[in-house]
Amino acid sequence: MMRIRVQIVDPEAPLYSGEADAVFAPAELGEVGIMPRHAPLLTRLRAGEVRVRHDVGEESFFVTGGILEVQPFAVTVLADRAVRSAELDEEEARRARQRAEERLAQKAAELDIAHAEAELAEAVARLRAIERLRKIGVLK
């Protein structure tokens, strides 16, 4: 069976490096699934889960955004920030969502609104990831 080499890194540290059967990532235009021999692709990532499927199951990572680079047998996730999904903190995500919503409600300067929207999107993505992982029993 053909495999792809997967690397997930953020500027401060590499997070994952290994072989996989398939990778799923939250591309800007929608979720993409990458199998071996995929055409070269460069796309931006939204906040969300990157899932790596291999022999022993599936590993999940959360990225706040970034760049996905695909070559036929190599996938590189250049995340803005990445953590293992198991380390996500629901309380913190809820607080972040609330903060962003409050700031949006105040209708501050235009720049702040863009910023708050990005934060809100990230917090929502976090919560969605947590919920999914809980459903499949990875998180308690």
Partner: protein, 286 residues
């Protein structure tokens, strides 16, 4: 000859200074390891994004992104990466010497100059020179974060984009090894990804959603990664330089204590001799 009591006091003060320098030496020695680890961990991202940028520049030589197109240089920007704190030997001094060279060159060519700084030391230095400072970041500490980079870099990159500067230099220290740190200057903008390896140019990425915004993001991330790397490397240099400086300070203190102790013993002996001769003289008089 100085009084014995004064010398004793001096010895005590040198000794307490020595205690501090020793402690700082050991703290720096343990921090180096962590700083080097951080430097090592930042490499995969930097390598990854550089590979993408190099490929982009290669398959799209015609791509008109401002970051990739050199233009006649009529004004200069410099980003300086220094430490927040002193007591690290000649690290910052050497860096500023290089900075002064660049400033002098810009003045000779009549180029207006603006700077951005990381670290307190550089901020103070450029303020004294009355340079046009666009951005500063200080209080970065021992473990720089990417968030430290983004503000000042964005200001300088925007200045480049808007044509207020035509060339952006990055000044920082290169970590050669614990004993050697070297101030270096790199051209940050315009980007010219190194082309040492010949890549086959016959394939291209699919771009989603569109090439222009995507390439902009990639180039921005690349700049951030490079400046972040410079910050982390400088933190490494800082600890190494501090360790070496504090080591030699501790050794100097030990030497000074030796000399003072010698002087103290002489002074004490002289006092005893004098006392004895006074007593003897007194006894004879009776």
């Amino acid at each position: 000859m100085a009084h014995a009591k004064e010398i004793r006091q001096q010895i005590r003060s040198v000794r307490s200074t020595q205690k501090i320098t020793r402690a700082m030496e050991m703290v720096a020695a343990s921090k180096i390891r962590r700083a080097q680890e951080r430097l090592r961990r930042s490499a995969p991202y930097a390598d990854g994004i550089e590979a993408v940028v190099r490929r982009l520049a290669r398959v799209h030589p015609e791509f008109p992104h401002p970051f990739l197109v050199p233009r006649p240089v009529r004004s200069l920007g410099i980003l300086v990466v220094s430490t927040d704190r002193g007591l690290c030997g000649g690290l910052n001094v050497n860096l500023f010497r290089l900075l002064l060279q660049e400033i002098r060159r810009a003045r000779n060519e009549n180029l207006p100059l603006s700077v951005g700084t990381f670290g307190n030391k550089a901020a103070v230095f450029v303020r004294r020179l009355r340079l046009d400072t666009l951005a500063t970041a200080s209080g970065i500490g021992d473990s720089p974060r990417l968030s430290n980079v983004i503000g000042p870099l964005k200001v300088m990159a925007d200045a480049y984009r808007e044509g207020r500067i035509d060339r952006l230099l990055l000044l920082g220290n290169r970590f050669v090894n614990t004993m050697v740190q070297q101030p270096v200057v790199n051209v940050l903008l315009p980007l010219h990804p190194s082309e040492e390896q010949e890549l086959p140019a016959h394939w291209d990425y699919l771009y989603e959603p569109d090439g222009v915004r995507l390439i902009d993001t990639v180039l921005n991330r690349y700049l951030e990664a490079r400046v972040y790397h410079a910050l982390v490397e400088n933190a490494c240099c800082e600890q190494a330089a501090r360790m070496v400086a504090m080591k030699s300070a501790s050794e100097n203190a030990a030497e000074l204590i030796n000399r003072l102790e010698l002087a103290y013993n002489k002074a004490r002996q002289a006092a005893i001799t004098r006392e004895i001769s006074e007593i003897v003289a007194g006894a004879e008089a009776v």
